[in-house]
Amino acid sequence: MAANWIWLVPALPLAGVLVNGLLGRRIGKGGVSVIGPGMVGAAFAVSLWLFLDLAARAPEARTLSQNVYTWISAGDFRASVAFLVDPLSATLMLVVTGVGFLIHVYSVGYMHDEDRRGFARYFTYLNLFTFAMLVLVMADNFLLLFVGWEGVGLCSYLLIGFWFKDRANATAGKKAFIVNRIGDFGFLLGIFLMFGAFGSVAFADVLPSAATVLDAGGPLAFWICLFLFVGAVGKSAQIPLYVWLPDAMAGPTPVSALIHAATMVTAGVYMVARSHALYDMAPAVLAIVAGIGAATALYAATIGLVQTDIKKVLAYSTISQLGYMFLGVGVAAYAAGIFHLVTHAFFKALLFLGAGSVIHALHGEQDMRRMGGLKRALPVTYWTMLAATLAIAGIPPLAGFFSKDEILWRTWDAGHPVLWAIGLATAGLTALYMFRLFFLTFHGSFRGTGEQRQHLHESPPSMTIPLTVLGALSVVGGWIGIPPAIGQTLGGVPNAIESWLAPVFADAHAEGAAHAAGEAHAIPPMEYALMAASIAVALLGILAARYLWLTRPELPVRIGLQFRVAATVLSNKYYVDELYDAIVVRPYNALSHFAWRVIDEGLIDGLVVGGTGAVVRWQSRVSSAWQSGAIPTYVTVFFGGVVAILVYYLFG
């Protein structure tokens, strides 16, 4: 029975962690490079097996669960280590283990010049991350999800600061962890409220009874969903808690590919999708989610346009695409959001790995202004990157088009024209900055140093194979979610992912379900129009990019001079980091200093403790003055006492 093997999926990477962690040095780089990827590959195999087992069942019966043991039970609070495999988590398990496996293989090549201890440590952390991500995705209650949530946060901290010799990397890691923690603070409050309302944190208890326990649109539903969304914003780097992702590029590139593109950052989308029953009860929060998603998408795209570091461009692109996913989920098109998550995992991972092989070839050079003309030197990287760039730009028949277009259509269909417009604009911008990156890197003349030119070489097979596989997925990936609008014309091709996820989102809009079922019904002409619009915008973006950065390379410089103010603001990322530092970090440190110096040492130690001491010392000095040994003073006091008593008795 598949159900009682579920624990194997997270257990395998955990075994990898223990083996590499403890015996890392002894089994040498070879051993580590077998165990690391091997464990994740095995986990992928088991996940695939579970996926197939699920697929074989009837749609309603597609859940496998396994309760390993009761983790915490205190009073009426109970949380257990239990795993739930249903279409949603199965999909994500495949993404995490599949893309994860490819990235592990890629890392063997990318990190081969690390020393033995560093190599083992790297793979230990990578396996630990995979374990934590799987726990997050497969958890059957919010608390275990939170354990995975903070676990991946820890791994991202460790991996960003992997080369900790350079203090900047360590600071970037710390920044990532703390900003994530701010999100987790919100998540925790959401869990507390949820426990207050439902008396449990298990999905089985909370989600089905959401409609009955929470009153739609009520304050409780609003606050639970909002706090959970704060957690998602922290983890998935949306406005305002996105500042850590660009700095997270300090980590090795495969890490950026795995954690900051394909898996961890999508945890927020998964969590919102998973608790869709709650979000359906709080339409106001859904609107916020969609709003922030769209805003982040546009905002990040603008910044991505002017970045010169190749990885920073991809980082802002990721933030932008995540905005898309949240837009999709925000308009209750949960399946579309998850679909975009899957396709994004493919092409964004590929883009990062491609960038990695470019950086690898140029021995660490990340500045696009010193690249160019690498087409001939890195053919495989060139073609796979081209596929990914086309996919992300949303050119049919590649993956990006289907998932992004689905979200745009659903946004329009759900009656959010403004958000649709922003989405469309962002699609154009995405095409623009992606092809800017593409042309600057691969076309034009090589702007690197002569010495780099000799050493230009294609990456070893261990790196190119994952690139090609991901390339294929970027092309093919979209076909699992062909919308009926196209599906029917192509002879009844079903929207596979929609129907696959339907049981999980069964109670989403009835219309959405019907839509997913794909049976023939009148497809509003507007859908075709929007599809055409998004393709047009994408092509426009590509041509503009070609014009600006290939045919007339001096133009961007001139534009930059003309709009100098706008250019500087953009290149400095709207000065958000400096803003946060001024508003939050510096005042907090100052307040802490104040607390320590003034309250602790000054007030309490100084005044109270020191004060009492001083009073006692003063009192003793005064009283000793009276005992001066001079008899007259004694007698005076004596006689003074007599007079006092006399007066008291006579007149008292």
């Binding site: 007259p632 003073t633 005076t636 006689f639 003074g640 007599v642 007079v643 006399l646 007066v647 006579l650 007149f651």
Partner: protein
């Protein structure tokens, strides 16, 4: 104005004057002599109060014995010459004066001047002269106050031994 009143005022004035001189005079010998005069005035006052026995005791014991002792000590330690250090610092004097005046003022304010105790003692009706006579005191001394009498005797003995021990020159 009866003879007694005149005597009282004269004796009172002299007593006050001499005691003031005792505490203000530079020369200790002069102080001793003024003190003797004061004691005589007091003896006189006792007489006006019909307490003749006590007046005699006052003269014999106080003026005679104690003051002689004082004079003897003053001569022995040749303290005759006025000492520079003698009078206390001004603030102390001020305090003393204030306290003194305060003391007297308080009593005066409390109406000690016109205080008329009611004659309720055991020997209330007896004529003052009889009361003040020697046998009256003697009977009292040997009957009711017999124990204190013995204790005083013992006290005097101890005092004598003490004085001798203290003043002895160490060998």
């Amino acid at each position: 104005m009866t003879g007694v009143a005149i005597a009282f005022w004269v004796l009172a004035a002299v007593a006050v004057l001499c005691s003031l001189l005792v505490i203000t005079s530079r020369n200790p010998v002069a102080s001793v002599l003024y003190l003797v005069v004061t004691f005589f005035c007091l003896a006189g006052l006792f007489v006006t109060l019909h307490s003749h026995f006590l007046a005699a005791i006052q003269v014999i014991v106080y003026a005679g014995a104690i003051m002689v002792l004082f004079l003897f000590v003053v001569m022995l330690l040749n303290l005759g010459t006025p000492q520079w250090f003698d009078v206390a610092t001004t603030p102390l004097k001020a305090v003393a004066l204030v306290l003194g005046i305060g003391f007297v003022g308080a009593l005066a304010a409390a109406g000690v001047g016109d205080f008329e105790p009611s004659a309720t003692g055991p020997a209330a009706g007896v004529h003052p002269d009889v009361l003040g006579s020697t046998e009256a005191i003697a009977t009292a001394l040997y009957s009711a106050y017999y124990l204190p009498f013995l204790v005083t005797a013992l006290l005097l003995l101890v005092a004598m031994v003490g004085a001798v021990v203290l003043a002895r020159r160490e060998r």
